[in-house]
């Protein structure tokens, strides 16, 4: 596999609450031979606070970054945070499709953005560019006790006209990646259900209710942890889990991992490198079950031999009882 190179826009969350997403994503990309180039002097992507006020302003904030990336000479920027991604895509597609909008946005910028950078989620890069086969090749460890509910959140694949990746109602890219690294994936119905998003600040009880629904459904589906690809989803499900428990009278204790952390674990990376110590609901018990692929194969072989032996014994018993 030829080494790949992408521009990488981490965004503000990945420097703060979601630093473990950044850490694990970088580790995984490194393992896969992907070089990430960070734009210098990047600024706010223009998400929620800006676009609720003014679309041109929001697009200008995003396009400032896109124009810096364009100057770097790369045609793709990979973005781990779905909010940043959505802001970038809206600006990019809006400016490409509507000349007057492009003029209005560029008017606000020092350097114009010419539409030469396509923003893609890290998930999309993994699924489409790197491919499942290459992802699977790097696996050295197994997590046989893990059952993961893949949770995509509301905006990663939506609206379809902007996201242009995977299915808006039943996305499968994360499912396939997790399956490729040998992890069990549960049949989770709330893949794109709302977690409450930024309402955690103005309307906490609503977020608690919605988050509880998602956690509940994950348990119902037989999962013992949830994989996410969005800092806000992770925050609501992880950080607020104790809040949910106290306000909803529940007793959840489900680790919420970034999908990149799970991939990293199967690549044999240390929990520390992957920022697993940053999780509020500890995943230590699950991580402790990690074994090497060889060990797993040995265990499997032993199990099979045991079963065979048992069967043989049963048969023997049968014949002896028949004889008697």
């Amino acid at each position: 596999m030829a080494d790949r190179e992408y521009a990488y826009y981490a965004g503000c969350s990945l420097e703060g609450t979601a630093v473990e997403y950044d850490m694990s994503m970088r580790q995984v990309f490194k393992a896969l031979g992907v070089t990430l180039r960070e734009p210098e002097d990047w600024s706010c992507c223009g998400s929620t606070p800006a676009h609720t006020v003014d679309h041109v302003l929001a697009a200008a904030l995003a396009a400032r970054n896109l124009s810096i990336i364009e100057k770097m000479g790369t045609d793709t920027v990979t973005v781990p945070c779905p909010s940043c991604l959505s802001a970038f895509k809206r600006a990019h597609l809006g400016m490409k499709g509507d000349e007057s909008f492009r003029h209005a946005v560029n008017e606000l910028l020092d350097e114009p953005y010419n539409g030469g950078v396509s923003p893609k989620s890290t998930l999309q890069i993994m699924y489409e560019d790197i491919g499942l086969e290459a992802i699977a090749k790097k696996v050295t460890h197994a997590l046989p006790d893990l059952v993961v509910a893949p949770y995509y959140g509301c905006i990663l694949n939506r609206p379809p006209a902007i996201a242009q990746f995977d299915d808006p109602e039943n996305p499968i890219s994360m499912d396939r990646i997790l399956e490729a690294i040998g992890v069990k994936v549960s049949n989770f119905a709330f893949k794109v259900e709302c977690c409450g998003a930024a309402f955690g600040v103005p309307k906490r009880e609503m977020v608690n209710r919605l988050t509880a629904r998602v956690l509940n459904m994950a348990l119902d589906s037989g999962a013992n942890c949830i994989a996410v690809a969005c800092p806000l989803c992770q925050q609501n499900l992880d950080l607020r889990q104790s809040q949910v428990n106290s306000t909803m009278g529940t007793n959840f204790n489900i680790p919420i991992l970034y999908f990149s952390q799970i991939v990293g674990l199967t690549y044999g990376l240390s929990p520390r490198e992957l920022g697993l110590d940053k999780l509020i609901v500890s995943a230590d018990v699950l991580v402790a079950t990690r074994i090497t692929v060889e060990e797993l194969a040995r265990k499997k072989a032993a199990l099979e031999a045991e079963e065979k032996a048992q069967k043989a014994r049963k048969k023997e018993d049968k014949t002896t009882t028949e004889e008697t």
């Binding site: 299915d167 808006p168 109602e169 039943n170 119905a189 709330f190 259900e193 459904m217 119902d220």
Partner: protein, 653 residues
Amino acid sequence: MRVGVFICHCGSNIAGTIDVARVAAEMRKVPGVAFATNYMYTCSEPGQDEIKAAIKREKLNRIVVAACSPRMHELTFRRTIEKAGLNRYFLEMANIREHISWIGLDKEANTNKAIDAVKMAVAKVMNNKPLFSSSFKVNKRVLVIGGGVAGMQAALDCADGGLEVVLVEKSPSVGGMMARLDKTFPTIDCSICILGPKMVDVAQHDKIKLHAYSEIDEIKGYVGNYQIKIKKKATYVDWTKCTGCGLCMEKCPSKNSYDHFNFGVAPTKAINIPFPQAIPKKAKIDPQYCRQFVKGKCGVCAKICPTGAINYEMQDEIVTEDVGAIVVASGYGLLDIDKLPEYGGGRYPDVITGIQYERLLNASGPTEGHILRPSDKTEPKTIVFVSCAGSRDKSVGVPYCSNFCCMYIAKQAILTKDHIPDSQSYVFYMDIRSPGKGYDEFTRRAQEDYGAKYIRGRVSRIYPKGNKMVVQGADTLLGAQVEVEADLVVLANAVTAAPGAAALAEKLHISYDTFGFYVESHPKLRPVETNTSGVYLAGAAQGPKDIPASVGQGSAAAAKVLALFSKDMLESDPAIARVNESNCVGCLKCKMTCPFGAVVEKELRGGKIVASVIETVCAGCGVCTSTCPCGAIQLSHFTDNQLLAEVNAICQI
């Protein structure tokens, strides 16, 4: 030459944005125009009388009417001038309504454009030649495409009227969608009980020739004289020998054939008779499931068949039928629920479609009339109906209303209570659309007498939870979110055009809309005619409609055919291509381009080869005239000279 020009106001339709008096005044200055006037409604009786009077009074011999589209009133005015003694082709119409007044608001610009348009018409009419139509014989047989209730009604009415009918049905039995319904609204009478006798009538009528499991391959000809090629698909069973005993179906070892009749509610055998009341009641083999075809060995049905009807070597067969008119009743399709991922997109076995539920309700269906949910064959107690699943939803390409879902959902809610008295139905709806006779009362009954809970709002998501399906939606009257834990969910998936509708329309030379539904000649006044003479529409092929409307349209189409065939001879349109034999060099490019096969080769005395036009086949499209390198083939009424005169008229300042 004395041309009379009549400018119509069409109330304010034209006069509102065109200065009609000025147009008339300008026309008076045009050489050759002897008389020009403007009138409130030229198509009205006094308007037409005015034209006739002016022809006499002013000794007019050419007439121009500047009004609406010639599609609307050309025939009206042709008749008018004919009554006043002029050849009907001495009329020209300038379309100043659809082409000018309706599309522009600038009165000055519109008036100038109208002046040009009328000048063109004047220039053309001065070059017009008198034309006379000839008459030709009509083949008084009618082809009906589609053996659903609309097609059967049309076939029976035509046959009862004494016409010979050829009925072509794509599936192995007539009956269409109605044959699959359990009961019909608003009377709850058994669908097959009222349809069955009609199906038998179709089978037994001397005048009806049924081609089941057949499709239209090719259509040639014109009103009065069509040649139809019909593809009889291979059934691998000799239907002349098959008695419909069903032994083959009983013994067939291949049990996983998709059951088209039951919409896949349960599988059927690879050799099957679709349903007990099928007409004709004959077996056919689905080769993609048959072991004889897939694995090359089996032959169970051939061994068991008491009449030796099985023939694995059978091929598709083409038969030809000559008819004079066609009724298209090819029915409708249903939106694939793959398009509705928020409702599971077909992933959940307990989320089914309305027509599948109909088969669960039906005594001759796969569950023998017991409502059992597909996943675990248990009786559902809570059933949710989603009455707009795709309909009125631009995002899935169905902006229209599917017409009959509100009613059949109410019916299914009533029947559910009858089947399972301790059940509870919920109906999510956008609006209850029940404008038919007795329809609104019926939907009230579902709610008031049968306790169906109607929730006004759309469903946002359906997901499984344990062995239940959770239906999450909005109650817009309460302004609240609702969740219903259901055992079974029924989606009233949207009505679409029948698969292959567009391809059939191309063969028929009829128009269809963006969605594939066939377009009638006029939405109000010519609802069963098409713009191709001799082709009529019936049933849901024209747009979603329920049984009474489909039957009504079937009868209406039959009435149109009977009226057409009340004459022994039809008049041909003389506006067709004609060959000037002395200019023709016999290259026969026209023959190659003619889409109707109307041009043939002809040898003159002395051996010169020229093109020749079959008058009755030529549709007057003009493709040949633009192909001809020496201008030898000319379309009457649209000759080069006539068209160039129009061009000259607008190029002169």
